[in-house]
Symmetry: C2
Subunit: 730 residues, 2 copies
């Protein structure tokens, strides 16, 4: 370990280092000031011990270590503590981490033993990553069955801060709702001529790759793994789902590059997965076909998997974008996606690996003149006929909405239509369509809505339970094992990791929601604020907290206000997707239309008169979306084509709603600017961070005005309906 804090302990004050995000040294003050005992063996337990020791080195506390854990044969004192180990010679601890049974704990760890007994005979209840926590008589105890549980317990204690060492706490059990919590990196190995080093990346280069080669910045990767663990993620892909060039060879002769990353992230419980090109056997020049039923092809993948696990024994698995946006796939050979996924799954199965198979398959060469084609239908139409035909280690990865990460979409009906399949829900932290990390847009509330959505109606299973694999316990949905959550990373080699410093909150929140989907996203924001910002003693912490909430809480809905209205989506500039272009995709091949004419706007997706997409939902949503009377306002134009004078449930007409929300959205950003300006001189923040946010807010305001003016002008020109309030529209 590095007791001096080098490597993972770098602080923001050093301009050459990465920003500490939600793990600044100050976040460990409470732990580092006390006496801690860590009981147990293994790499992740060592990580816990090292983290505590580093904090102790800074804040004067002590850490003891009991190898073998409470279950171990030896009962030695802390033999390799890096803190002031002498001071805990009285056998008293403020904090005990204990792995396994607790019978042999030292006297000072009595509570831990008690907690352990209190958990009862069902030791499996904590699972491979869960932990239990309690505090009594001045001792806080964290117990886990597996090392990963202690690691997550440590970060839980970090989150609690001083509260972990205050009043007594009864026994709490914590375990992740979803077993697989994966960060998908759209990082290219080679620089793509259009997409660059990171596809849809808005935070600089890749932390893994640079211009075809590994980046070799181990500190960055280690720091990143630590941040991920601290918010609850446990897996990552290291390369873009669009796999080409050198990236194809990560599977073969460039495998060592992947292994090097795996070595760096393993101590934080992160497993490495790889995006692979379905046609790799062909593109690497070794076989004439990539037909998944071809024996040579199957053998090729089996050999590839064997090499992988020989090199990376805890390798996570493959992620595949097949038959999508030009990527190769089984369709080329007349095979199904089940054929394709199962072939890879069979290769990985002996080693416990999984296949993340993306359901993002649609016709991207659509004829806009053909109104019978509806891209929203595509994933359902392609995948639901295959339900039950995927191997147990295949996860079908479904974007949260039926389109493509728009600011507002209904939940994908696929998530309620494949009871016999493990499904992962995929969300996008990188803000492709939500301001590209130049705009403040806290997506916690969006993801929370998705995860809490109940496709079968109130009281029935939620999307979160589908992804967790627990939906089958309740009402008609077969138990599926669950595919967990996948998030597209918003991280790059930017000093603040995410370009916009406040976009860090999205990465933090997605991990927390994957672990506990019921968390209030605003409470998650509080966690993030408390961890990330440690104002000086003289500053007013409520001012900072209030300002951050004022900027972030409603920012997703604010972004929605000044962009595409009422769920219709896509009105962005083609290609780069930043800024408004109302007709940008309207007559294109991408299947993303709004059909605005002089009379009205919106896409008729009803069964009665439209594309029938509403019929892909179970009841009550099939009917609720079908009917103008019951369709929620915010999705009205996603499901219906209505006249501009159609009256919303809000009482406003569609056209006046468009005007009002666009003016209001810009006003909201202007108020954000004012709030942020106000805390500039207050000494609450690193001036560089304040300046970065100030710059981005200025761009957000400019862009919001552009959105307002283009959208309002477009609809005024088309509808001819003047603004009821007589505001300036161009």
């Amino acid at each position: 370990m590095t007791a001096d804090g080098s490597g993972t302990g770098r602080v923001g004050a050093d301009p050459t280092s990465a920003h500490p995000a939600w793990l600044p040294p100050e976040a460990f003050r409470a732990i580092g000031s006390g006496r801690t005992l860590v009981c147990g063996d293994g790499m992740l337990v060592a990580t816990v011990r090292d983290e505590v020791a580093r904090a102790c080195a800074r804040y004067g506390g002590t850490v003891g270590h009991l190898p073998g854990g409470a279950a171990g044969p030896e009962r030695t004192g802390d033999s390799d503590s890096d803190g002031n180990s002498d001071s805990d010679s009285d056998g008293r601890y403020d904090l005990v981490f204990a792995l396994g049974t607790t019978g042999l704990l030292p006297a000072g760890a009595a509570l831990a033993a008690e907690v352990g007994r209190g958990l009862g005979p069902d030791r499996g209840g904590l699972g491979p990553e869960g932990f239990a926590l309690a505090r009594r008589d001045g001792v806080t105890a964290v117990l886990a069955d597996q090392p990963a549980g202690l690691l997550y317990g440590l970060f839980h204690v970090v989150r609690l801060g001083p509260a972990a060492f205050g009043a007594d706490r009864p026994v709490e059990r914590h375990r992740p709702a979803m077993r697989l919590r994966l960060v998908s990196h759209w990082d290219n190995v080679d620089v793509h001529p259009v997409m660059g080093q990171v596809e849809r990346g808005y935070a600089g280069g890749s932390i893994f790759w640079c211009d075809g080669a590994p980046r070799r910045d181990p500190d960055r990767v280690r720091d990143y793994a630590r941040l991920l663990a601290a918010c609850g993620m446990n897996a990552m892909t290291v390369n873009n789902v669009n796999v080409y060039g050198t990236a194809t060879r990560l599977l073969t002769d460039r495998l060592d590059d992947v292994a090097a990353i795996a070595d760096l992230v393993r101590p934080y419980g992160i497993r490495v997965h790889l995006s692979v090109n379905f046609a790799a056997p062909v593109t690497l020049g070794e076989l004439p076909t990539a037909d998944p039923l071809d024996g040579d092809v199957r053998a090729w993948w089996t050999r590839a998997a064997g090499r992988l696990y020989e090199t990376i024994p805890d390798f996570g698995g493959f992620m595949v974008k097949a038959d999508s946006e030009g990527q190769p796939g089984p369709y080329r050979y007349g095979r199904t996606h089940a054929d394709g996924a199962n072939m890879l799954a069979d290769a990985l199965a002996p080693y416990g690996g999984v296949v993340h198979w993306r359901a993002f398959v649609y016709n991207h060469r659509q004829d806009w003149r053909d109104r019978s084609t509806d891209r929203a239908r595509a994933a359902y139409d392609h995948f639901t006929p295959l339900d039950g035909r995927f191997r147990d280690n295949v996860i079908v990865q479904v974007k949260h909405g039926p389109m493509d990460f728009q600011t507002r979409e209904p939940v994908s009906p696929v998530l309620a239509a494949m009871p016999g399949t493990r499904l992962a829900v995929e969300v996008q932290a990188t803000q492709e369509y939500t301001g590209q990390q130049r705009h403040v847009c806290y997506l916690g509330p969006c993801w929370s809505e998705v995860l809490r959505f109940a496709p079968w109606g109130p009281g029935r299973p939620t999307v979160a339970s589908v992804a967790a694999g627990t939906a089958g316990d309740d009402g008609g949905v077969a138990a599926s094992g669950g595919g967990g959550l996948v998030v597209v990373s918003n991280v790059g080699d930017d000093h603040y990791w995410t370009g916009h410093p406040l976009a860090q909150a999205n990465l933090y929140a997605v991990g927390r929601l994957a672990w506990a989907p019921d968390l209030d996203p605003l409470a998650v924001l509080d966690e993030w604020i408390d961890l990330t910002f440690t104002p000086s003693a003289t500053a007013d912490p409520d001012l900072l907290r209030g300002t951050l909430h004022a900027l972030l809480d409603d920012s997703w809905r604010g972004y929605e206000r000044y962009t595409a209205p009422l769920g219709v989506g896509f009105m962005v500039a083609p290609g780069h997707h930043y800024g408004p272009d109302v007709d940008g995709y309207e007559y294109s091949r991408w299947g993303t239309y709004h059909f605005a004419d002089r009379d009205g706007v919106g896409v008729d997706r009803t069964r009665a008169t439209g594309t029938g997409f509403t019929g892909q939902y179970p009841q009550p949503w099939a009917d609720r979306y079908e009917s103008l009377e019951t369709c929620p306002d915010e999705l009205l134009l996603f499901f219906h084509h209505v006249p501009y004078q159609h009256v919303l449930h809000s009482g406003s007409t569609v056209i006046q709603h468009i005007y009002d929300t666009h003016f209001a959205g810009v006003e909201q950003v202007a108020e954000m600017v004012r709030r942020w300006e106000r805390i500039g001189p207050a000494g609450l923040l690193d001036p560089a961070l304040h300046a970065r946010v100030t710059d981005r807010l200025a761009e957000q305001l400019r862009c919001a005005e552009e959105w307002r003016d283009k959208v309002n002008t477009y609809f005024l020109r088309k509808s001819g309906v003047p603004d009821a309030h007589g505001r300036r529209i161009h």
Copy 2:
């Protein structure tokens, strides 16, 4: 010379060679079959002699040479003929080229002598490039004062073909209307990350440059110079007007690369000009400023010019795009364009060089919300106040329309507003906005309209006379010397030179029109057809000619029909400018709008209620464009915003005109496809050429349908007016 025809004499049958375009060996059949005498000295006379000799080697004729011309001291026989020189020992010639006075011509060249006398004492009448031609008594004589005249005379005889050797022809004088006839290459030296090797190039790579280095394909460059001379051009720039990277250094340490090109094109009377970066003294790192009034800067350019002329004694001059679309210029230093241009002119003046200074200056960061800014006004507003302040060797280079080479624009009012300035008219052969050489679009009729346009009304000087410098002879326009014609090249390293084989006609036509602006563009097409295509004896030449005319004659207006209507321009996809995007530029910074709303469409540029652009024209056009009653239909939406139900002079409403022309435009292309198919099996053409055109026609039809459907749908959605004929609009 290369008597075997290698280098310049390659024919299309060799797949590795360039297509011979309008100079296939067959075009020289008549000359090559007869007995020719070439009298005169110098490089260009040698070119004439070599051209004839090569033809004789193929077709059995003879060529004699009388060095020193008729004016020379010696009267020797042909000492270095490469033809069958023995056969002209009887002193009879079919064709005589004679330079200078004709007193000492041999007997067989009697007619030439007579013609020479007939020209009378005003020997200057032919000018540096003119020639006289006559035929009598079986002898055709071509006389010139300067070698270049003989070269152009040669290609005139080639054009005449057998007709040059048929009936008697009285003495005709030919001299170019415009002295400077320049092809501007937007060829990049380095590959531009967005624009590639040739900006707006649609015919492959550059014939001059490849990836930062000279291409070193001397045959290609020599062939090109020959083609240019044969259509009448006499100058070229060898690099893009946007000058960056390596191209900046063509002026300094890469000057030898320019000299190498100059050496190759010199034998065909082509002078090389160079596009330069106004900030070169700064960007090359030598000076802290590029202020045109700074002594060091002026000295820097003086030294640069000195080096240039030391290396390339006949160097033509500089072309400059300054203060335009991000290029540097004098505005940065608070100086005028006159200051900037004059500084460069002063550096070149001692050597006879000229500065082509582009008037394409406008605000390309316009706010679409600000309707008071009108890009059409920009060149006039920037440049006319400077009239009279430019040096005599400055040519202000004016795009033919006020916008940017749209399919239909009015003539730029700048061309009628700077009587004290040498003006060049700039046209674009590369089909940036006219189908990018995937569509057949013969631009001869467009350019002819521009050149024949009379800004001061019928009977008064034309644009051609302004560019020729002769407008001052007639009515209030000061003599200016004229700036000639500049055309942006459509040539690349494609086998057919221009991507679309039929796009060769544009390059041919522009040269011919620069030489003789009064030529009928359809007659020019006949010349091009006769030179380029030599069907086999068994084939029906009228079928080929008829088909080519059917495709080409009306193709510009056909393209206009299915694209942006009634002169409104720009409805193209932003960036690459291919294919329709009706609102693509509507809310952007480029100043190119149509302002379509539910009631009407068009840009109000009147003095009464609009931007006042009509006031930039002299009478009668200032009033004619101002009034709805007199504004020509085809420019209606350029000058007026009108309701969809506005009735055109044609009797149709605007909206019905839009529908009708878009359906008609597609029908026209469909008919072109049918016509072209019909000659496929007729043996009239090289099958490879036929196939290339077939492929492009298919794309043209697809794209025309896309234009039709997007434009019609857009306006149906906006106007709500149904098509009177009930055709399908989406």
